[in-house]
């Protein structure tokens, strides 16, 4: 059924494809992000309740959405890696995890910076905030585990397993935190105000969301390329590539050469 996917699972092919896509994705991502940011920062009216602080939405919401999106794509890759034993998928887990972690961190930081003017405090133990924090921990766990082994392949496999376990647990965490918060705290904090967004505000937001997605894709391509090289370094095609870069004179030829 998935036979047509086979050539893409070949590391060498995937390396080439990622190399082809990366410049386009990156350029597009930078353009949309720039456009969305400039538009959202300078060319939309202020919110009647929140004033200009609401402009944080243009990075907060995309980062929050794609922090979860990145986790799902990572978990899908991990699942593929475990079930079908496809090595490229294994490496993709390690490539996506840091991007997801940075997105999550951005969602947290921008949320905190938004919360201070809106709620008067940097941090409250709200359900959504808490579950985002736990998402960050999950990401960091995957990263820490993948780096904890002397044997790189083993680290990749173990962190793939952890990512899958985490995805089973993620909804449980989400609902438990939601439930916990409503039990302990009444509606002391105003829930996320959902202003019926004016189209003039919506467009830059959508642009930013698209931009974050493109950036996620672009960075994944870049990091996956590195991972492929690292893990396939004993193959002839990588050796040939390395020798080419050697001949370009990038590498100083030393005889002592005891540092690698």
């Amino acid at each position: 059924m998935f036979k047509w996917l086979d050539p893409y699972a070949k590391p060498e092919t995937l390396y080439r494809i990622c190399g082809l896509w990366f410049p386009w994705l990156m350029t597009l991502a930078v353009l949309t992000l720039l456009l969305g940011t400039v538009w959202g920062l300078g060319f939309t009216p202020a919110d009647y309740q929140q004033g200009d602080s609401y402009r944080i939405i243009h990075i907060h919401v995309p980062a929050a959405i794609w922090s979860m999106g990145a986790y799902s794509s990572m978990a899908i890759a991990a699942f593929i890696a475990l079930v079908w034993q496809i090595k490229v998928a294994q490496w993709a887990v390690g490539a996506i995890a840091p991007i997801g972690a940075v997105y999550t961190l951005i969602a947290l930081l921008t949320g905190m910076a938004w919360g201070k003017p809106m709620w008067g405090t940097w941090w409250v133990w709200d359900a959504r905030l808490t579950s985002e924090l736990i998402l960050l921990f999950l990401y960091l766990g995957v990263i820490a585990l993948s780096g904890a082994f002397a044997d790189r392949q083993m680290g990749a496999k173990a962190s793939a397993l952890l990512a899958v376990v985490g995805v089973v647990n993620l909804p449980i965490i989400h609902f438990s935190v939601e439930w916990w918060n409503t039990l302990h705290q009444g509606a002391t904090i105003t829930k996320f105000a959902k202003p019926s967004i004016d189209p003039s505000m919506l467009w830059p937001l959508l642009l930013s969301i698209l931009g974050f997605a493109l950036l996620l894709a672009a960075l994944t391509c870049l990091r996956l390329r590195t991972a492929i090289l690292l893990n396939e370094q004993h193959r002839p095609w990588v050796r040939a590539l390395a020798q080419q870069s050697d001949q370009k004179g990038n590498v100083p030829q030393t005889n002592a050469g005891r540092t690698v």
């Binding site: 200009d52 980062a63 951005i106 921008t110 910076a113 590195t226 050469g257 690698v260």
Partner: protein
Amino acid sequence: MPEFYFESLSAFWQMGGYALFVWLSFGSTYGLLFGLWWYSQRSQNRILQDLAKKQSREQRVRAQQQQEEEANESKT
């Protein structure tokens, strides 16, 4: 075509009094994103160089092993 919302550039920087929060978030966001890209790009650039170095080390080791073998053979 939307118009520039603020009256002046200084008003733009002040962000209606929310300058700290808005610029803090935008700054940290782009800082983090840029850092991530820079780090990824750097490791991508380095890896081929490292591989080339590794290969030359391999050759050195091979050469030394050959030398040793030759020395052993001439002894016996």
